[in-house]
């Protein structure tokens, strides 16, 4: 295996494992009190895949932990014992999941996964023995034979109940390294099979790959296990596309038992078996089950074209959504998006070219409108491709809540609403941490112990609501608990002690005080707990949100709970904007923030005693912000009535902004300010105009925190 192969395999491995572990955690946490059969099957499958993949990558420690959990669930699946201690079971599985996560983190950091999983595996094995002992002393030992290193029991060539099997396996197209997969398969079979003969024989040799790909991998072996067991075991192979298993010692024909040996000695070619065995057609087909993997292929040929079509359709249906998905490297999507941005700019450069000015171009204009339509559709599609639902991020929080409740002896129910809301992939990465910190904070600081809650007349089980919803061009993420709320006195005292206050205490509103908690190094928790109290966390919230142009708000009612609202933009990259002119320079204002624009009439204007300009419009009074004053720009229109007012909103706040004139609506490809520039309040980035000039993009929120 070359380094390159291994590198990309490793990347796939980490990706796959992370997904599996997430899936696993979600399953466990959802159903902690009691597992139903589906969930047991699900966990078994996940563990089996983890075991297989990590054994293939030769991460034996991960494989052995996964193996013991797999054994455990195999037993549960087969025996369905009653009265299990599900809490302990969950603990075991989750600690296994944690172990895998740790190892994955090492891999990601370029280290070797060298954690020792032996103890964990032993603990799980012990747990399995306990269940077996308690629940079914009399039942026969079941399981895939302890683990790879224990001696296979009861496997010999001449056992009474020995069955001879012949299996033919096809791997999925494009799964790569078929020979190694075959090797792993054979290796795993040693637990229950003996006399294993396979074609091609030397699977370590990479030159056998095309053969396995085209002709399939044929294994013959004898095993004391029954058909279903063997079939299920082989069927769980990773990247399996097709499996056919024949019981060569099937009672229909007693002579078959001897057949393989004869063939073996005579020709030495196992391939001939197919022809030599006088096996009737029909039973074979009945015996041949086909695995229902997502890319299902029927093993028998349909007799008519109509049937063929029908079965293809059925296969398509069974394939479900899984086969319609591909995973794409985010870098490729980023590259596509950049190209998209350049396309938008160069379209503007062509259609708004100064050389076209004053020309009568009827057909040209028609065609450019069509072009614009296509480009904007394309753009929407590209943006859509990058949108990911928040569900994975949200469901991960179940685990955090569970762990914290266990350790802090609190009882919290996490309700998730609106997890299907989609957000740009890049943004999701930045908000997972803030959400986690807020939830930790809510449970650690906000939610009271059950006894205390009862005293206060609240339900013993606290509720934390995690909600996402769309609001214009933004997504709101709301985290609401029904705990004790923020103690403003304590926060203010602490802020004062840290020198964060800038005016007399009495002048601070509760809302202002609450915002202090987002400052770096701020924590009111007197004791540092495992979860919070070090003062890091909440400042991660604000700094991470700043990166994606979002904001955090906190609103708390003492005794009733705290609500955190994170406002994040849907996407970072292309915005619909209104171009405005101030002193000859263009600025772009996000359309989402604009309510309307209008010309002021002198009689509507007035100034309050402290010099703030205001305007009445349709019975409402608004503050006027002069963009040129805000940015200290010389040479702009200073007469409010001569310029244009744009009514802007940010949340519940509204102002009217004075600009020289409006230019028009356009697509703004948002580019960050060059690195050298510090963050400027009121600016979120810049965009290239059709003529190659640069327009600064106004961050409307910046005008409201003054």
């Amino acid at each position: 295996m070359t380094d390159f192969d291994r590198e990309s395999m490793l990347e796939m491995f980490i990706f796959e494992m992370t997904q599996l572990i997430d899936q696993l955690e979600a399953t466990i946490v959802q159903s902690e009190s009691e597992y139903n059969m589906d969930q047991i099957n699900e966990i078994f499958r996940v563990m089996h895949t983890i075991k297989g993949s990590s054994a293939m990558m030769m991460f034996d420690n991960i494989a052995s932990v996964a193996h013991s959990i797999e054994d455990l669930f195999y037993y549960l699946r087969e025996e369905n014992p009653q009265g299990l201690d599900f809490k302990r079971l969950s603990d075991h599985v989750l600690s296994g999941a944690d172990f895998v996560k740790e190892e994955l983190a090492k891999l990601q950091g370029g280290e070797k996964p060298n954690g020792d999983g032996t103890e964990l595996a032993l603990a799980i094995d012990k747990f399995l023995h306990q269940i077996k002992g308690e629940e079914s002393e009399t039942s026969a030992p079941v399981g895939t034979g302890k683990s790879a290193d224990t001696k296979p029991q009861n496997i010999g060539t001449t056992g009474e109940n020995m069955h001879k099997y012949k299996a033919k396996i096809f791997f999925q197209d494009g799964c790569e390294m078929e020979n190694i997969r075959a090797y792993t398969l054979v290796h795993n079979m040693q637990n229950f099979a003996a006399d294993i003969v396979h074609v091609p024989a030397d699977v370590i040799d990479e030159s056998t790959i095309p053969l396995i790909r085209n002709e399939g991998f044929t294994v013959e072996f004898s095993s004391p296990r029954d058909y279903t067991f063997v079939y299920n075991h082989l069927g769980a192979t990773v990247y399996l596309r097709e499996l056919s298993l024949e019981d060569l010692s099937a009672p229909e024909d007693a002579t078959i038992d001897a057949a393989p040996e004869i063939v073996n000695t005579e020709t030495g070619d196992i391939h001939n078996i197919d022809v030599d065995i006088p096996m009737p057609e029909e039973p074979t087909i009945e015996e041949e089950h086909t695995m229902e993997t997502p890319t299902l292929v029927e093993t028998f040929a349909p007799s008519s074209p109509a049937e063929a079509a029908a079965s293809a359709e059925a296969a398509q249906k069974k394939a479900g959504s899984a086969s319609h998905m591909i995973s794409v490297n985010v870098n490729k999507l980023d590259a596509l998006l950049n190209l998209m941005g350049e396309l938008v700019i160069s379209e503007a450069m062509v259609t708004q070219n100064s050389e076209l000015e004053g020309l009568q171009l009827e057909s040209f204009n028609k065609e450019t409108r069509q072009l614009r339509k296509i480009i904007s559709n394309l753009q929407q599609t590209v943006m859509q491709m990058r949108m990911v639902p928040l569900s994975a991020t949200f469901f991960r929080m179940h685990r955090i809540v569970r762990d914290m409740c266990r350790q802090l002896d609190k009882d919290v129910q996490l309700d998730i609403v609106g997890e299907e809301t989609e957000v740009d992939k890049n943004i999701i990465e930045h908000i997972a941490d803030p959400i986690m910190h807020i939830i930790r904070n809510s449970i650690d600081h906000g939610v009271e112990l059950p006894a205390e809650r009862k005293e206060r007349g609240k339900a013993a089980k606290a509720r934390v609501l995690l909600e996402a919803k769309n609001a214009g061009g933004d997504v709101l993420i709301i985290i609401k608990d029904d705990g004790r709320g923020i103690n403003t006195q304590k926060v203010l005292a602490k802020a004062k002690a840290n020198g964060l206050t800038s005016k007399p205490d009495a002048e601070y509103t509760d809302r202002e005080i609450q915002q202090f908690i987002f400052l770096p190094g701020f924590s009111t928790n007197d004791q540092v707990t495992a979860f919070s109290g070090r003062g890091v966390g909440m400042d991660v919230v604000s700094s991470n949100l700043e990166i994606v142009g979002g904001t955090a708000l906190v609103d708390s009612v003492p005794g009733e709970g705290t609500t955190f609202t994170l406002k994040i933009p849907l996407t970072l990259t292309i915005q619909e904007g209104m171009s405005v002119l101030v002193a000859g320079a263009q600025y772009t204002i996000p359309i989402a923030n604009i309510i309307k624009s209008f010309k002021a009439r002198p009689e509507d204007l007035f100034t309050d005693p402290s010099g703030n300009e205001m305007i009445t419009n349709r019975g409402e009074i608004y503050n006027i912000v002069r963009l040129h004053d805000f940015f200290n720009i010389d040479g702009a229109v200073t007469d409010v009535c001569e310029g244009t007012l744009i009514q802007l909103e940010n949340g519940e706040h509204v102002v009217c902004m004075l600009v020289d004139e409006l230019i028009g609506q356009q697509q703004a490809v948002v580019k960050p300010m060059p690195k050298y520039f510090k963050k400027v309040r009121g600016l979120s980035g810049c965009t290239l105009l059709g003529n190659g000039d640069i327009s600064l993009i106004i961050d409307v929120a910046g005008f409201f925190d003054k």
Partner: protein, 156 residues
Amino acid sequence: MAAIQNFFEEKQLDDTIKDQYLTFAIEDEDYGVEIAYVKEIIKMQSITKVPDMPNFIEGITNLRGDLIGVLDVRKRFGKPFKEHDEETCIIVINYGDYTLGMIVDAVQETAIIPEERIAPPPSAKLSYANQFVRNIGKVGEDVKLLLDVERFLAQD
């Protein structure tokens, strides 16, 4: 900072550009900047002002689709404003993570100044502009003030 250090060391090792300086004029003085930093020279083009910046930061400009910051060397040195003319150029430099343009009165030449012809400046920093000079190099009889790029870019 490590990135800058590496970048610097790497370029130092590169013999083909060792000892080479791009020289430019500000008022009557000649300055030099290590050629390793120089990406290209472009003629004066439209620059968009950015509010709330130190006065020597002229704004941002579009370099074939990339947005780069532009600094005015005259303003940085505290020299009086001079109308831009035919000779006014923007030297585009790469420094660490930054790509930046420097507006200069005129670009002169690439000069080879071997180490032995380079001396530290007099210890007393006589003028404001002097603090951006790391060394003084000699080309024939001419004196070139070699720019301390890090100091030059510092925004405090």
